[in-house]
């Protein structure tokens, strides 16, 4: 680990840098320049990571969730094959030094969400210092909220120690204001999809939101989102209809969507459908909840907000189904597709409850279990095509 730190201090590029394609080399240079200019970089993976604390440390938080099968063979040299592709891809990018954000992160913030990730982080820590947030198993018991508050405080202290700084309540409060503004901008963009037909393709929207997780500057990205929302709204009001009126309106729920935006999202939109709501952990269900900027205990307000995020790793998790039903109404959804990444037990099991809730509301539901490979694209085309035909 000492070696890793020295390496990060001098910002050398990976050994295999010259073998990378132009785009990847450019990303590495961009991140290297950011670091050389004194930028602090903190990698994270999960929506439960309290980003305001990272922001308040003057660092940029970047999401390191792997979304490509490119490095999975490398990961499988260490990890078992029957593991979720997100975990394998994340570890593979770290071990093969192919992701500039992972490579140049000062620290990675992991969390005890699912078993696979939790144990993978122990191996990841050998490559990069990894701080683990201990996420409670639920939110219903008073000590769970207190425990999570303590976890948020420990993260704050770890970052203070790492950067030799003090994070004040004032720092946290202004970070909260910036993130709230960004979340309002995101929600405003989501809201445009409630129009019939929606204002834009779901693939465009999901890709935009995915890009947010690689942005170094919250305010800069917020301005971009606000401009995009204004532009799309103006175009729509001017009569532009990029989505056909007869496109079936789908909500995609389940595991993180980043790695299957094309495999599932684009397939939906090539088969007569449109994604009007991406109901995953980086989507509206997470972004719509804001933090009280004036809360007397700002760290407590942050920790409470994050623990309320609905993910299948917590038990019980009925709030997720309730929220999905609200989204179904808000976006006039014709059908729900649940996307489960291979070997994601919690979402796969919770799918039975989601199916019941969605069908109980009279809306057709289909579950797809897939990974990042192209092997089952033909089958996915058929399933999604057939599902849309039934709507």
């Amino acid at each position: 680990m000492g070696d890793t730190e020295t390496k990060a201090d001098r910002y050398p590029l990976p050994r295999t840098f010259e073998e990378f394609n132009e785009q990847r080399r450019a990303s590495f240079i961009r991140v290297k320049d950011f670091k050389q200019a004194g930028g602090r970089l903190v990698g994270y993976l999960c929506s439960y990571t309290p980003l305001e604390i990272i922001d308040a440390a003057g660092a940029s938080g970047v999401a390191l969730c792997g979304t490509s099968d490119e490095v999975i063979p490398a990961a499988e040299a260490t990890l078992p094959a029957n593991l979720c592709p997100l975990i394998k891809s994340t570890y593979g990018f770290a071990s093969s030094e192919k992701c500039p954000f992972t490579f140049f992160s000062d620290i990675i913030v992991g969390e005890t969400t699912c078993d696979g990730k939790k144990k993978m982080y122990e191996l990841l820590d050998e490559l990069k210092p990894t701080h683990i947030l201990h996420l409670p198993q639920g939110r219903g018991r008073a000590y769970e909220r207190d425990a999570w508050y303590e976890e948020c405080r420990l993260l704050k202290e770890r970052l203070e120690e790492l950067y030799g700084i003090t994070i004040t309540d004032g720092d946290l409060r202004s970070a909260v204001r910036r993130r709230n503004r960004m979340r309002r901008a995101m929600t405003a963009l989501y809201n445009l999809q409630a129009a019939e037909p929606p204002a834009m393709s779901g693939v465009e929207l999901m890709s935009t939101m995915f890009a947010a997780t690689f942005s170094f500057d919250v305010e800069e990205f917020t301005v971009k989102l606000e401009a995009l929302a204004a532009e799309r709204r103006a175009q729509y009001e001017a009569g532009e209809r990029p989505v056909p009126a007869d496109a079936k309106r789908l909500l995609v729920t389940g595991c993180p969507i980043g790695g299957v935006i094309n495999k599932i999202g684009r397939t939906i939109e090539c088969n007569g459908g449109v994604v009007v709501c991406a109901d995953d952990c980086s989507g509206e269900r997470t972004q719509a909840s804001l933090i009280d900027e004036e809360a007397p205990d700002i760290l407590r307000a942050i920790s409470d907000r994050y623990l309320d995020i609905n993910c299948s790793v917590l038990t019980p998790n009925a709030g997720r189904m309730d929220n999905t039903l609200k989204m179904i109404e808000k976006y006039h959804v014709d059908g729900v597709i649940e996307s489960v990444l291979t070997a994601c037990h919690t979402f796969n099991v919770e799918a039975a409850l989601m199916e019941r809730a969605v069908e109980g509301a009279g809306v057709p539901y289909m579950k797809i279990e897939t990974d990042y490979s192209a092997g089952d694209q033909g089958q996915i085309d058929t399933r999604i095509g057939a599902f849309i035909e039934t709507l």
Partner: protein, 256 residues
């Protein structure tokens, strides 16, 4: 609605099926041919066969819907519809608007719930060859008999357990049964029961019958019997059920 004929072209992984319906929905012509290596080539052969039967695929008098895994390879199709919808419509035409369609295809098995002649839900085994036509094909090959012969042998065979789910492992299991001198009829019985068990497990997720069998196994009487036993409910089928996908596609074409 001005067309005189609706044509359904179902290019499956193993077989290509064609159905021609007249304006009244009566089946006037059908074709069955191996798909072969290329679905583009299969589509081409279909066009020739239809021409020989007096149906020009480019003519204004016909509307064509393509379905099956090769559905995107049919350049003369007016519309592409997935095989799940087509099997549902085809089965509804053959058997009635309400029930569960079980389609055992060459590379996947589908279970389709029908209500009011429409597909309301479906489940698929499309990740594994167990419980598909491919499993029977490979095992018949290993036993050195045709699939029809294997079914005939199976009827007279004693119950034999083949426990491997994986087709490759099941093949090894069959090889070891052969090596141990287990009669061919018994192994054939084991093979049929293995497919039936897998299909029944998938179909069992669908609440109630009546069950309709479509696809390549519909004229395999022993499989139909064993499937009825496994589901504990009658399974209806008929020789035309092999063409269910093509019939459904033709039905759709008539409506274009």
């Amino acid at each position: 609605m001005g067309s005189r004929y609706g044509i359904g072209v179902d290019i499956g992984s193993t077989a290509t099926k064609v159905a021609v319906l007249d304006r009244d929905g009566a089946l006037v012509h059908s074709e069955l041919m191996p798909t072969g290596y290329s679905s583009v080539d299969a589509a081409d052969r279909v066009a020739h066969a239809l021409a020989a039967a007096g149906h020009d695929v480019e003519s204004d008098a016909v509307r064509i819907v393509a379905t099956g895994y090769g559905r995107i390879a049919v350049p003369y199709a007016d519309k592409v519809v997935t095989e799940i919808t087509c099997h549902g419509i085809g089965a509804a035409c053959l058997f009635g608007p309400q029930g569960t369609v079980v389609d055992v295809g060459g590379q996947d098995t589908k279970v389709i719930q029908l209500k009011g002649g429409r597909v309301v839900k479906f489940a698929m085994n499309d990740k594994c060859a167990a419980g598909t036509g491919r499993f029977l094909e490979i095992m018949a090959d290993r036993l050195g008999v045709s699939q029809e012969e294997m079914a005939r042998l199976a009827r007279g065979g004693a119950e034999t357990k083949i426990s491997s789910m994986c087709t490759v492992f099941a093949e090894s299991e069959v090889i070891s049964l052969v090596g141990r001198g287990v009669p061919r009829a018994d192994i054939a019985r084991g093979v049929v029961d293995s497919v039936v068990a897998r299909v029944a497990a998938l179909a069992g997720q669908s609440p109630t019958g009546p069950f309709f069998l479509t696809g390549g196994l519909c004229d395999n009487a022993f499989v139909v019997e064993r499937l009825s036993d496994a589901l504990g409910a009658p399974v209806t089928t008929c020789p035309e059920a092999r063409y269910a996908g093509a019939l459904g596609a033709a039905e759709r074409a008539l409506a274009l």
